[in-house]
């Protein structure tokens, strides 16, 4: 059986989540490996969510937010951009594959883009194989 990764998606309510909705209503096909959690803004994402997701067995984490400048709260994603960039560097230096973590700006009208990103990212994580470094084993 081929490896089916578990991927956590964290999507902002106003853009990416709505974009995902659009992808759904337009009946676009994309892999089902992503489990999406909706947050009000990408800046609501505590970096610990990402560390924790990896610990609890996620093979990849995909964060989606509005395009810079389009944030529903004006500046939320601009803070998130800096913060998540740091998260990525920390993941990288700690030794986990940084490719397992990805941030994408997807607007409410970009259903196609959403399906594309999810397909591409799932494929990428599949290539990387199961994530075992952070995963808690008992």
């Amino acid at each position: 059986m081929s490896f089916e990764p578990k991927i956590l998606g964290i999507a902002c309510n106003w853009c990416t989540y709505t974009g995902a909705d659009l992808a759904g209503t337009t009946r676009l096909q994309y892999p089902q490996n992503l489990r999406v959690v909706r947050v009000m803004c990408s800046s609501r994402i505590n970096p610990s969510f990402i560390f924790r997701a990896f610990q609890l067995g996620a093979d990849g984490v995909l964060v989606g937010g509005c395009h810079p400048g389009d944030c529903h709260y004006n500046t939320g994603n601009l803070y998130a951009r800096r913060r998540l960039a740091v998260t990525k560097k920390i993941l990288e230096f700690s030794g986990i594959e940084p490719e397992r973590f990805r941030v994408e700006w997807i607007s409410a009208s970009e259903g196609n883009r959403y399906a594309e990103v999810v397909t591409e990212f799932t494929e990428q994580v599949k290539q990387l194989g199961p994530q075992t470094k952070f995963k808690i084993s008992r």
Binding site: P47, S48, F51, R52, Q55, P68, G69, T75, L78, Y79, R81, R82, R83, L84, A85, V86, T87, K88, K89, I90, E92, F93, S94, G95, I96, E97, V103, W105, K133, F134, I136
Partner: protein, 288 residues
């Protein structure tokens, strides 16, 4: 010619005494005698006569900025600061934890500081590579010049060159040693959260038991919380009873922040900490 430790100590005593006598400050944070000469302690002088107990030698590595947040706002404090310590003070001012006008900074130009546990010189390795305080009101001694300038990030090269799996193993081994005494966060001048995320019960961010995953969660999150705020004093590593080289990770994050956002922490009072700030033209490249 740099001033000797003894000269600085004398000046520090005189200055502390003067400040306490005139009532300009109610507290002077400096160093005092410990159980032997190699183990001085942070010392809190409140009376002019206390100033006589002040010492300063090459083992006075502690970052006194750590104690600033303990005092109620508005307390007039004089604090003895070395290079990294002064950056910590600046960072605290940026974060509005203390006010510049409440502080008198007694600058200590110090070269050849030593770790009291191991006796090794720490200047270039575990401290920010500067010898003179960045900000001070009175400099107690002459500025250090002509000493080799070492980039504080040089020590990282060897770890950056590692293969990611090897690096993971390296950190796993180090974090597995952790006994969760939390000396690192308590010695850190920038760790003032109450409660700390790891002490929270609901939600519980990481396990309390000293196992790999709880330790990893604690340390990685702490590195993240100190991103763009760590002023590289190295106190966390010196406080650690099991010698985890935490400073390496902090340095790495500081280096990345400096490269990505073009600002080193604790250098100018008017700066904003990088992670509570943004530029519209920040590049998306930083996320790659």
């Amino acid at each position: 010619m740099a001033s000797s430790f003894k000269q600085i100590e004398d000046k520090l005593k005189t200055e502390a005494k003067k400040l306490l006598k005139t009532g300009q400050v109610s507290v002077v944070l400096a160093y005092g005698k410990g159980y032997d000469d190699n183990h001085p302690m942070p010392y809190i002088a409140k009376l002019p006569s206390d100033a006589d107990n002040i010492v300063f030698n090459e083992y006075c590595t502690h970052n006194l900025a750590r104690y600033l947040v303990r005092y109620p706002k508005g307390t007039k404090i004089a604090v003895a600061v070395k290079a990294a310590d002064s950056r910590a003070v600046i960072q605290l001012i940026q974060e509005e934890k203390v006010k510049r006008e409440d502080l008198i900074l007694l600058g200590l130009p110090a070269y050849g500081m030593k770790n009291s546990k191991t006796g090794e010189i720490i200047d270039s390795q575990t401290t920010c590579g500067l010898y003179n305080p960045v900000l001070y009101d009175t400099l107690l001694g002459e500025e250090v010049h002509g000493q080799p300038v070492v980039s504080p990030y040089d020590v990282l090269a060897q770890y950056e060159a590692m293969d990611k799996d090897a690096r993971f193993e390296f950190w796993k081994k180090e974090f597995d040693k952790c006994i969760r005494c939390y000396a690192c966060r308590k010695a850190c001048p920038m760790c003032y959260c109450d409660p700390c995320f790891i002490d929270q019960n609901n939600p519980r961010w990481g396990e309390k038991s000293p196992q790999s995953h709880g330790n990893l969660m604690y340390h990685l999150t702490r590195f993240h919380h100190l991103a763009g705020r760590c002023i590289d004093c190295g106190e966390c590593s010196r406080a650690c009873p099991v010698d985890i080289p935490l400073y390496l990770f902090h340095k790495k994050v500081a280096k990345e922040c400096e490269e990505m956002f073009g600002q080193a922490s604790g250098m100018r009072i008017d700066d904003k900490p990088v992670l509570v700030n943004f530029r519209v033209d920040d590049s998306d490249k930083i996320l790659e």
